[in-house]
């Protein structure tokens, strides 16, 4: 156990160090969702969006939950990227030739992605706060939002790592990520409520786990505990199933690459 902690700690530390050496990229990663979506997109649609349709005091208030979950989505889906490079330049093989537990590399990556995602969710909620969106459930609500993010992030990161281990070239990896990310966003309630969507899109959006996550985060920001609790109950069930499916699917790729 002590050895396991030593390995996982050192491997996680490596991800942190890498990030700290790439300050520019770190800034971009952190700033992108709020700049692009919350500030640009939010203000762009502030006046066109009908507050009756979105059922929120303002479009930005409506959008905040969507941007939070979008960030979780994008961080999770990109979570395998560094392992992809490790696989390609032989670093992963070097790690696997050492007497470490076969799970530590993957666990270190989960830990790192989860930590970064949580931090980013806090930053987004902070910026939203400055734009006048105050989560009505307070600190407790923010904590629950982060927990929902972790629950959703596990499955996403698992998919991303499995993909990184399975693809033949890293071009494939990035085009698949791009192919997954935007449809997931458009076919969810991140930008528009279900009621405002064409029926076929609303049907697809209901099948999207992201929609369930947003449906729980949004009342935590806009409505209050009474409205949020049933949604939280549902999202826990949905995400447990989602994570189980993702981890089960990813396990084969993990085993093949990590032995």
């Amino acid at each position: 156990m002590e050895q396991y902690l030593q390995e996982v700690g050192a491997l996680t530390m490596r991800w942190v160090r890498r990030l700290s050496r790439e300050k520019f990229s770190m800034l971009f990663t952190l700033a992108q969702p709020m700049v692009f979506w919350l500030i640009f997109f939010g203000n762009l649609f502030q006046r066109t969006a009908n507050t009756q349709v979105v059922q929120a005091p303002s479009y930005i208030a409506f959008l905040a939950a969507g941007v939070v979950v979008m960030t979780i989505l994008n961080n999770g889906l990109a979570g395998g990227t560094d392992l992809l490079f490790d696989k390609e330049n032989g670093f992963l093989e070097r790690l696997m030739s050492t007497p470490i537990s076969r799970t530590s590399v993957v666990i270190s990556r989960f830990l790192f992605v989860m930590a970064i995602t949580s931090l980013q969710v806090l930053v987004i909620l902070g910026v939203a706060y400055l734009m006048g969106v105050k989560p009505v459930t307070g600190i407790g609500g923010v904590a629950v939002i982060i927990l929902i993010g972790l629950l959703f992030g596990v499955g996403l990161t698992a998919i991303s790592m499995a993909l990184a281990f399975s693809v033949k070239s890293h071009g494939d990896f990035f085009s698949m990520l791009g192919f997954l990310s935007l449809p997931m966003i458009f076919l969810s309630t991140a930008l528009v409520p279900l009621a405002a969507m064409p029926v076929w899109m609303a049907v697809l959006a209901r099948l999207n786990p992201m929609t369930w996550a947003i449906d729980a985060v949004r009342p935590l920001i806009l409505s209050g505990w009474a409205a949020a609790l049933p949604k939280i109950g549902i999202v826990v069930i949905v995400m447990t199933v989602f994570d189980a499916v993702c981890l089960f699917g990813a396990a084969r790729a993990f085993r093949r690459t990590l032995g």
Binding site: A10, N89, G90, E93, S97, T98, P99
Partner: protein, 319 residues
């Protein structure tokens, strides 16, 4: 441990998905303290064999043992006693040299004080002390290679595996790496390298296995292999106009006393002779008598590329 064999590979085979046979029935043994080379062209199966030995690839058949430990059944124990220096520059360009070594030390579960001593040792060994705290992005190719080797040495391995240790290095860095390898050998480490450089196999390795098309074609010390060819090599290249005479000349040469073997490839005659000082004049006399014009004559002691050619039917860097 106390095993008298450091590495034992027995009837090893590996068939990848899609039924590509990378390695077939490979058998060899490496004694403790030896520098053993797997020599072959790209795609010959060298790296596959090595990856099985470092426990990151499961063999499809056969067995492999390192100091008596099975690489599949006792993989974790094997990992504890081996070091690995990969082919690619497996370097994280955002980390410093020291951070690489700290990471590796933690993965081998060294306690902190033991780790810092060991890190200082290996940095000194590869002569990287003054660059240890610089990020690897700023390293030259030779320095990255040194760091690679340092990483492989962190566990104080009994057996070190190096995949193409000098691939892509300039001459000076190459000689430095060889020097390091000899130093490690002097410390009693068993070292297995893969290479497609003939001179590396010749000058660095105590013994080599020539591997081609996934199979071992010959094993022995470079000198054994060379003398196994049975004599020095005389090569005659005939002028293009005299190609029709080549078969007749070959027959006549085979009958000549002192000639051991003759092979013909296009307009080139490869002649093995026991003692060139006696046989060479006779060979040239035969050529003169048959009025064959020569384009080129070469005589040399057998080289490793002659060994390679004899055992595989082609030159190592033909393509």
């Amino acid at each position: 441990m106390g095993s008298s064999v450091a590495i034992e590979v027995s009837h090893l085979s590996k068939i990848y998905e899609g039924e590509v046979t990378a390695v077939e029935d490979v058998t060899f043994q490496v004694s403790p303290g030896e520098v053993f080379g797997l020599l072959g062209p790209n795609g010959a199966g060298k790296t596959t064999t090595l990856r099985v030995l470092i426990t990151v690839l499961r063999p499809s058949g056969g067995t492999a043992r390192v100091l008596g430990l099975d690489v599949v059944e006792q993989a974790t124990q094997v990992r504890q006693i081996i070091g690995y220096v990969p082919q690619e520059r497996a370097i994280d360009r955002f980390l410093t040299g020291r951070e690489h070594l700290q990471l590796l030390a933690s993965l081998y579960h060294l306690p902190k004080d033991r780790a810092s001593v060991r890190i200082a040792e290996v940095l000194k060994l590869v002569n990287l002390e003054n660059k240890a705290d610089e990020v690897a992005r700023n390293y030259s190719g030779g320095m990255k290679r040194k760091l690679d080797i340092a990483c492989g040495l962190i566990p104080d391995p009994k057996v070190l595996f190096m995949d193409e240790p000098t691939l892509g290095l300039d001459v000076q860095s190459r000689l430095k790496v060889w020097e390091h390898i000899r130093e490690l050998k002097a410390r009693g480490i068993t070292i297995m390298v893969t290479t497609n450089y003939l001179d590396e196999a010749d000058q660095l390795c105590d013994r080599i296995a020539i591997i081609d098309g996934g199979r071992v074609k010959a094993i022995g010390s470079p000198n054994e292999l060379k003398s196994g060819l049975g004599g020095d090599v005389v090569t005659l290249t005939l002028a293009a106009g005299d190609l029709d005479k080549i078969e007749g000349l070959a027959q006549a040469l085979k009958a000549q006393e002192g000639v051991r073997a003759v092979s013909v490839k296009q307009n080139v005659l490869d002649i093995r002779v026991a003692s060139p000082e006696k046989t060479l004049p006779a060979i040239l006399a035969l050529v003169g008598a048959r009025r064959c014009r020569l384009e080129f004559v070469d005589y040399h002691r057998p080289r490793l590329d002659d060994v390679f050619l004899t055992h595989t039917g082609h030159r190592i860097q033909e393509d």
